[in-house]
């Protein structure tokens, strides 16, 4: 009876995992397929990887995506950290409730709406003040910052909410002015959270298709946009290769972020003892 139930549970678990990961693993295997026809196995080869690196189009899109992701992650971390600190540490200021709501709104807003409204904003701005002159890397970066800083703010806020204000008060008590306290005490405490936030913002930007499609202009094609447009022309094995590389990159950065968070959690536990 007991053995039967545990076998059933194990079976369900395997089925669940298979449902999630078999497609990805299949895609990774087929990225090494020699055949030009995606569903037909023609022997092991890395030809699509080399073809991928020879394609200038793919190279440009990758570089553009990386550039946007880097800029986005950096600015989103700076703004998101400040917002998170304000949410967790300043208990009374004018419009606090509104601010809290507006910080978390991008988390639940449908991407289509965010993209469309940002596009309208950029068009209006262009007509009234002439900036941005054309849509491309700048507009995509701004759009990405607006939604990914919300994620950073939430990470920072929860990080700070979990720790008391004792350390900051101790620094104030020892004669440090508030800005000094932020620099000496709050930010070092937040460093792991900021790294995690940066990595999250980086990956969010890297795989965004919808918002980027709205606010991009001619000549600025990000990697997800390129993949999507190619898929529409039919399955091609080099996309499998590209996707495999992206999955590896994302997996590595998520693992790093997880490891940093775990290490800090251990340190905090040690402090408790």
């Amino acid at each position: 009876m007991k053995a039967g139930r545990s076998r059933f549970l194990l079976g369900m678990l395997c089925f669940g995992f298979a449902f999630l990961y078999v497609p990805i693993i299949l895609m990774m295997i087929y990225s090494f397929n020699y055949s030009k026809l995606v569903p037909v196995w023609g022997g092991f080869s890395t030809r699509w990887y080399s073809e991928l690196f020879q394609s200038e189009e793919v190279w440009n899109a990758t570089m553009l995506s990386l550039k946007i992701a880097l800029l986005n992650a950096t600015f989103a971390t700076m703004l998101g950290t400040l917002a998170g600190i304000a949410l967790a540490r300043i208990h009374k200021f004018r419009g606090r409730t509104l601010f809290t709501g507006m910080i978390s709104a991008p988390l639940v807003m449908p991407e289509v709406i965010t993209g469309l409204s940002l596009l309208l904003l950029f068009i209006t701005l262009n007509q009234t003040i002439g900036w941005p002159a054309e849509r491309g890397i700048t507009t995509i970066t701004i759009a990405h910052i607006t939604f990914s800083m919300a994620f950073v703010a939430i990470i920072i806020q929860s990080r700070l909410a979990g720790t008391g204000q004792d350390l900051e008060e101790a620094a104030l008590d020892l004669g440090a002015k508030p800005f000094r306290v932020l620099w000496d005490i709050t930010l070092p405490q937040l460093a792991p959270g900021m790294v995690a936030g940066w990595l999250l913002a980086f990956t969010l930007s890297l795989d965004d298709l919808v918002i980027a499609s709205f606010v991009s202009g001619p000549g600025a094609t990000t990697l997800p946009m390129l993949i999507y447009s190619r898929i529409r022309l039919g399955l091609r094995p080099d996309i499998n290769a590209l996707a495999t590389i992206i999955i590896l990159a994302v997996t590595i950065s998520v693992l790093i972020a997880g490891w940093i968070m775990l290490r800090q959690q251990r340190q905090m536990q040690q402090r408790e003892i």
């Binding site: 004792d166 350390l167 008060e169 101790a170 008590d173 020892l174 004669g175 340190q267 402090r271």
Partner: protein, 377 residues
């Protein structure tokens, strides 16, 4: 220290060092501190004692500058501090959690306050080393706080709070996180350090024993108000109210009516029997008043034979005995109905020969009329 007197609060006209005047602190509708005034003198080790939520920590935080009073004023050494931010006050605080900066070494933790004051490198080094040797942590300067034991962290926190030579040191439950043995040892260390540095200490604690041993004076707080302020012995021997009689140590409370009064000699009748007690008190109780007589358990004598030397004598039956080694606590049901708690030293070693008091023994209880405390209302 060049002090005029070891007990400045006993003298009229002495200048207070910390002066709290009509301070009230409200959080929304909740009044944490309710219109209190208090003078603390230079070199005192002042204890703020009370249960959780009584407002003692809020008062301490107002002294540190983390909270500002809703109304009223606070001055330290003659300067008004009411609206001065914490980083400009001549006051340092030792936190209950110690609040050591986890990313800095012990040395850097202690040096932090000095550097904020712009003290130069060589002097910082010297003063940090002095502090470390004072708290006997000379070899631990390079360690991180998480590599220290609880007791060591406590001493680092103390060193960090004292290194700036504050006028006042605030201590929030300084010994709460230590185990019993370490707590007793640290109590004496704290008193020692206070004596050597001459800094005025204000200690918040919920532990009445800790407050009694440490403090020159104690203020007992409840619901945002002071119930009583005085020297430890004064509060213990002359509690003003039932709350304090019960909160500081334990006490037997007997409801009585005053039936006769000759100056300070009172005759009191038990509320629900005709037993009469004698007491000497300067409380303004008149004939006919209902009041409460408080008796400390250790002030009642217990014996198997009558106690003719005591001016109050009752008989009773032992219902419970708690044996604590050097003393025992007896719960005795008396002839007049109340159960009294009595503690007595265990002077007889064996239970043989019928010397020792056992369960269900008939005993005599007695006390001097000077030992009974008449509580106001």
């Amino acid at each position: 220290m060049n002090q005029a007197s070891a007990y400045p609060w006993r003298e009229a006209g002495a200048t207070p060092f910390i002066s709290i005047k009509n301070v009230t602190k409200r959080f929304g509708n909740f009044t944490a501190v309710d219109d209190i005034s208090l003078d603390i003198y230079k070199g005192e080790l002042f204890g703020l004692l009370g249960g959780s939520g009584c407002g003692k920590t809020t008062l301490l935080r107002m002294l540190a500058g983390f909270e500002t009073p809703t109304t009223g004023s606070i001055s330290i050494d003659g300067a008004d501090m009411t609206d001065v931010p914490p980083y400009e006050r001549p006051v340092n605080m030792m936190f209950q959690s110690y609040a050591l900066f986890p990313h800095m070494s012990v040395e850097k933790n202690i040096a932090y306050g000095l550097k904020r004051d712009g003290v130069k490198g060589a002097e910082v080094k010297e003063r940090v080393a002095d502090m470390l040797s004072m708290v006997e942590l000379g070899d631990f300067g390079k360690r991180k706080p998480r590599q220290l034991s609880g007791g060591q962290r406590q001493r680092v926190a103390l060193a960090r709070a004292l290194v700036k030579r504050p006028k006042v040191l605030l201590l929030d439950e300084p010994l709460a996180a230590l185990d019993k043995r370490l707590r007793e040892q640290t109590q004496f260390e704290l008193m020692n350090i206070q004596d050597r540095t001459g800094v005025t200490f204000v200690v918040v604690t919920h532990d009445q024993e800790e407050a009694m041993t440490l403090s020159t004076r104690i203020a007992v707080m409840d619901a945002g108000k002071f119930m009583q302020i005085g020297e430890p012995a004064d509060i213990y021997e002359n509690p003003a109210t039932r709350y304090i009689a019960n909160f500081i140590g334990s006490a037997n409370l007997i409801p009585v009516t005053v039936i006769d009064r000759q100056q300070d000699k009172l005759r009191l009748q038990h509320e629900s029997s005709d037993t009469v007690f004698e007491a000497i008190s300067d409380q303004p109780a008149a004939v006919g008043d209902n009041t409460t007589l408080a008796l400390r358990p250790e002030k009642i004598l217990i014996d198997k034979s009558p106690l003719p030397d005591c001016d109050n004598n009752v008989q009773g039956t032992v219902k419970e005995i708690a044996y604590l080694g050097k003393i025992s606590t007896y719960r005795v049901v008396t002839a007049f109905g109340e159960t009294l708690e009595v503690t007595a030293p265990n002077q007889v070693r064996t239970s043989g020969a019928g010397h020792r008091i056992e369960w269900d023994d008939q005993v005599y209880l007695g006390w001097s009329s000077y030992s009974a405390i008449l509580l106001s209302s």
